[in-house]
Point group: C2
């Protein structure tokens, strides 16, 4: 690039690193969807080799030179260019402060950790998994230290997923939420209709997997997921991976829990719509990158909860659902279906949790992570601490570690500090939802006609097209006109579930 400007050169190098990153994402997707059981070591070697070249690309000294030149003349940059440069600086400093050997080791450890977790969970054997967790914590602490955050490694873990987020902020938001939600969950659980909702859900049995797959593809395509630029497959733990023109979601099927695959797919569709909606011309820079995991989760939660658990949504899709499963749905009324879709049952498993209780699962994990990082809790004491917290927050105690500390994949590859994003995402979704309802009173009538285009268009413009221009809290303030708060989430839950259970 003999005559390219420093900015053009910078963007070209960022794109190259981004492309290598998308290959790493594909390896990860493939590992969870396709990898033969005997190939774990070979995959770990691939992760390690790719992490090394990815790291080399992201820490290319010429990026540092170009950043220096651009920052020296920062007054000439447009606001968008400043965004690109500022985030590139953040990433570059992060990449250059981590030794290549550390990055390689951490990637290999992440791959081995995933397989150790899957094995430990299958065998309900926390003891075999504990050394992996110890090692992952050690890697997380070392990483924070390399980046100058050795004194506050958990703040660093939060900031990694949501720039600017701190333990103090999360503590404050979660304390307010917990104060309102624990009594709400207790009241709903004690309601006679809670048992009725569970009974209806339990009657939804024997839904063939093929039909479930066909239905969820129809639904997710109607919401706007573009299957020419993505796909859906099956994995142990549902997730969404990839960006731009290759966005891959996963789900899992249970013939006797037909709402599970459906709602997990709609959740992943929210993530997928965000990734498909990022500006394609800016992929590789902050302008083509999501705004952090809390905003990402707000997109999945908005579609899953505010949209797909509504009466309006089912007014459109219920006839098709009954047509696909005539025998299985024959004894269920529309009102019963609505109750089953919004069943509240305190459960031990986060991914099976209802919309209300879910947030308490996150509070639990946040409090344990915080203590692990503060050195107030040892890994060997985790199973017991989990049991105590589950009893206090959710009102249930796990009978084994599969229902407790072994249930989630996240810690297996060292993804600490990620869980809070889920609950912050719920808060943001509720706050965005309050805003769009005020702007567009006819919105739910459109849903009832199967028309989700206005909502997707609004999200495309106000959230997706913004890339990483704003932090989560800034974005919420700009789009809704008020600071991030749990009050819209509590109001939404009281409105929907109060009417159903406490009326």
């Amino acid at each position: 690039m003999p005559n390219a400007s420093p900015l053009d050169e910078l963007v070209s190098r960022l794109r190259r690193g981004h492309t290598l990153g998308t290959i790493a994402d594909l390896l990860q997707w493939d590992e969870q969807v396709n990898l033969p059981p005997g190939a774990a070591e070979q995959r770990a070697a691939q992760h390690a080799a790719l992490a090394e070249v990815h790291h080399a690309a992201a820490s290319d000294p010429r990026i540092g030179e170009q950043l220096g030149a651009l920052e020296a003349d920062a007054g000439k940059l447009t606001p968008d260019q400043s965004t690109v440069v500022a985030h590139a600086r953040r990433d570059y400093d992060r990449a250059t402060k981590l030794p290549a050997e550390f990055v390689r080791e951490k990637a290999a450890q992440g791959s081995r950790g995933y397989h150790a977790w899957a094995k430990a969970k299958a065998a309900d054997d926390f003891a075999s998994y504990a050394p992996v967790l110890e090692k992952n914590l050690e890697f997380a602490r070392r990483e924070a230290a390399y980046l100058g955050h050795g004194a506050a490694p958990y703040d660093y873990a939060l900031d990694k997923h949501d720039p600017g987020l701190t333990t103090t902020t999360v503590d404050r938001l979660f304390a307010e939420l917990k104060r309102d939600l624990v009594p709400l969950v207790r009241a709903i659980a004690a309601s006679p209709r809670a048992a009725e909702a569970r009974a209806v859900a339990a009657r939804l049995k024997g839904f063939p997997v093929e039909g479930q797959g066909a239905f969820l593809r129809e639904v997710t395509a109607a919401l706007g997921f573009d299957y020419a630029r993505g796909r859906i497959d099956v994995s142990l733990h549902p997730f969404c991976s990839g960006t731009g023109s290759d966005v891959r979601m996963t789900t899992r099927f249970n013939a006797d829990q037909p709402l599970d695959a459906l709602f997990s797919s709609i959740h992943e569709t929210g993530h997928g719509l965000y990734e498909q909606g990022l500006p394609a011309t800016h992929l590789g820079t902050a302008l083509g990158l999501h705004a952090g995991m809390a905003v990402h989760e707000s997109q999945s939660r908005l579609w899953e909860n505010q949209v797909a658990r509504s009466r309006a949504f089912w007014r459109h899709f219920e006839p098709r659902w009954r047509a696909l499963f005539p025998e299985q749905t024959a004894g269920v009324t529309s009102e019963e279906l609505h109750l089953a879709v919004n069943a509240v049952e305190p459960t031990l498993i986060r991914v099976d949790a209802d919309e209300v209780t879910y947030n308490l699962h996150i509070v639990l994990r946040f409090e344990l992570e915080k203590k692990l990082f503060a050195g107030e809790l040892a890994v060997r004491d985790l199973p017991a601490a989990w049991r105590t917290a589950a009893r206090e927050l959710i009102g249930l105690e796990p009978a084994n570690d599969r229902e407790g500390v072994l249930q989630d994949v996240h810690w297996s590859d060292g993804s600490f500090g990620y869980f809070p994003s889920y609950c912050l995402g719920n808060m943001i979704a509720a706050q965005l939802w309050a805003r769009v309802r005020a702007m567009r009173p006819a919105l739910e009538e459109e849903f009832a006609r199967g028309d989700f285009t206005w909502l997707l268009g609004w999200l495309r413009e106000n959230i997706h097209a913004q890339g990483r221009r704003h932090s989560a809290t800034e974005l919420v303030q700009r789009v809704t006109g008020e600071p991030l708060s749990p009050r819209h989430l509590v109001a939404h839950l009281r409105e929907r579930y109060g009417a159903l259970y406490l009326g």
Copy 2:
């Protein structure tokens, strides 16, 4: 590696390059099995970025230094170490003589070419594909020129897949084969039993894809394919990819041609067994690499033709096949099944070709490739030249280019010089088969009991475990005690098909 020997350092660098190569293989597999249609450009960028880092790893100057040090003291190397060094030198020279920019462009062109081919084939539109072929030929010529073979680019293309192979050698072997096979194919096609075989094959209809998939998994597992270290999926064109603990085969299903998916899977199983049988401790060096594509094809052909088209093989598997498809097989006798399995019908499509005619498809492609590279044939004249050659060799003329020049994937990403390996593989398979039958008279009785372990063990020891120690011709000489010749193939075909059709 402060105290590592030059050989240890060399092997470590070769392994790193090999690992990056296995990621490229996975991208390729994923592209043909999973890629969303809108993601072709994104995948091309991934191929290009990975090809660049792969090339950088393979052309690392420290490999050159280590090779220099080892070659200067070559007398101290064991024969195996000499093999490693000699092949590393060959690869290093190849890697360092190709400019990084050329490698990047060629990878992107290969990816675009594949999609252009798939589109052109679907639309029977050779004109849209011709510029891709021109470009691919230009890239092939440029590559040969970079490596000092500008005067004989087709020799270079052959040598790339089978070290040491020349146009002259292939010309001689193929001339002898053509002389014997054209009349044999004509005589069989004229036999009344040929029509009978086709009629039986045409009666095999309505085999559900699920059952076909279950049967071919059972068969390929019984032959020895280890599904803990591999998998099978569906793609447009069947292939086998990967090595060591992650070997991935593909097939494709047609309910009305149930033998197609079965035999293509057994073919790919032959490739897969070879890759699973390479010495795991030597992956990344010549000791853990296959001996070239002709030997690779000999493995697929041996299992597909010599083993799976035999009466012995079906004595074991026929009952299971009938149990899975009782209605579809009710009107077919065992003798008719044997005839259908060994049906000879000159066809226009190579991958549908019978064991006899198949070789003439290869002779056709070899003769056209040779002329394209010699400048004796222009790309625009390819469709007509293909039609003429098909009429002369196979006795049929394509009605359109989908049945002619557009049928094969190979040229779409520039894989010229590959086709001859298929036919040389048939020759090697027949020569190996003559040898094992002489050594193990009870072999087919073992097959009839479903026991394929002796054959696999013999191949593991004599072929798979040898890695790339010997060239194809050396290996054949060592294992069979005579030079490579088409006579065993002709004898095998005369024996099997003479008995069926000309008796």
